[in-house]
């Protein structure tokens, strides 16, 4: 906190209000409470798509019913998410959700996970160490109130279709990413 602004006593309350409103919330990865609660992706363990599908089918619980149970527990999970996790993999599903899935499916969470597989690097993956790309990911993380990993995954999935076809060089690709983040930010502001 800065300390070289003198504030008259009668303005201290409004100062506290402004300071609390403008407080920058740290990304989940840097938040010890988020780690404590299993909200940060474990880079070494991920949800095993085949195990999830197999156990869910054995328990005769459809994607809609499973999503509904997770929603009751407070998680924003849709049936399509379950289907996507089972068909395309789920490297960004956090340990807390894996634990909730395991609890609903009456299975040990370990049996729903596998060692993370390093997939073929996406274009975004290849560029992620660039400072301008890191700033975009951090910005999206702030806009969406998500972890940096989730923001990265969102950006990656949003740009899959044009990553290799529509953008001939890295700078143009990053410009397209920036435009996409602008759009998401405007949508976020419009929705309050």
């Amino acid at each position: 906190m800065t300390d070289d602004f003198e504030v008259p006593e009668e303005l201290r309350d409004v100062e506290a209000l402004i300071a609390s409103t403008l407080r920058v919330i740290p990304p989940l990865e840097e938040d010890p409470t988020a780690r404590l609660l299993g909200l940060v992706v474990d880079p070494e363990r991920e949800l095993d798509p085949a195990a999830l599908r197999r156990v869910r089918q054995v328990r005769k619980i459809g994607p809609e019913a499973l999503a509904s149970r997770l929603q009751t527990r407070g998680w924003s999970v849709k049936p399509l998410d379950i289907i996507t996790w089972e068909s395309r993999g789920a490297p960004t599903v956090v340990p807390a959700i894996i634990a909730a899935l395991a609890d609903e499916l009456k299975i040990d969470p370990v049996e729903l996970t596998r060692g993370s597989k390093k997939m073929t690097a996406s274009r975004l993956e290849l560029l992620k160490d660039r400072s301008d790309v890191q700033r975009l990911i951090a910005r999206l993380s702030n806009i969406r109130h998500t972890s940096l990993a989730d923001a990265f995954a969102l950006l990656e999935s949003s740009t899959t279709s044009f990553a290799y076809r529509g953008a001939p060089n890295d700078d143009q690709y990053i410009k397209t990413l920036a435009s996409l983040v602008d759009v998401i930010e405007r949508q976020s502001q419009n929705h309050g």
């Binding site: 409004v14 209000l17 409103t21 920058v24 919330i25 409470t33 609660l37 407070g74 998680w75 807390a96």
Partner: protein
């Protein structure tokens, strides 16, 4: 995982993910006047450690419940710090300020509406007042750095800062001087 076995209770992780911005800001609001705003995340963590140990059931408004817990924890935290400070310095070096704030729930609700309302009020400030407020509270810049950025004297920055807070107080209904 906590929350399991108690009907009606969401998972603590889901609650935290949904409300953490509001909770950290609620802690900052209480702690700020005592100069302890940097401990806001610690205060919120203490609340969730307690919840993991004992997750209540049948809460209808979790956000309001959690904000209340955070505010109480923040007040306890200030008291702890004051007591420790007194022990260490043998005087009352750290100011305790846990009195009701002018901008409590009855004035500006401690929720997403509040954030929107305050941000709109900041956006409506004239320049350079808006820049000074953003630099001071969002970017946590020093007065000298703000002065250099704007090409004005530090004294003028301080004056603009006070004017901006006064305008915000008027806009947000915090009462007259």
């Amino acid at each position: 995982m906590a929350g399991v076995g108690k009907q009606q209770s969401p998972d603590p992780g889901a609650l935290y993910l949904t409300h953490r911005s509001d909770l950290i800001r609620a802690a900052v609001y209480v702690l700020y006047r005592s100069g302890l705003a940097d401990d806001a995340e610690d205060v919120v963590q203490r609340v969730f450690v307690k919840l993991l140990d004992n997750m209540p059931a049948n809460i209808t408004d979790w956000r309001a419940y959690l904000i209340t817990l955070v505010r109480r924890q923040a007040i306890d935290f200030i008291r702890e710090k004051v007591a420790a400070d007194k022990r260490d310095r043998n005087d009352a070096g750290l100011a305790i300020n846990t009195s009701t704030h002018a901008f409590d729930e009855s004035t500006v609700r401690l929720d997403r509406d509040r954030t929107t309302t305050v941000r709109q009020a900041i956006s409506a400030l004239p320049e350079p007042h808006r820049t000074v407020i953003i630099a001071r509270y969002e970017e946590e810049s020093k007065g000298k750095a703000v002065a250099e950025k704007l090409g004005i004297s530090p004294g003028r920055v301080s004056q603009i800062h006070a004017e901006a807070l006064d305008q915000l107080r008027a806009a947000l209904g915090g009462g007259a001087k």
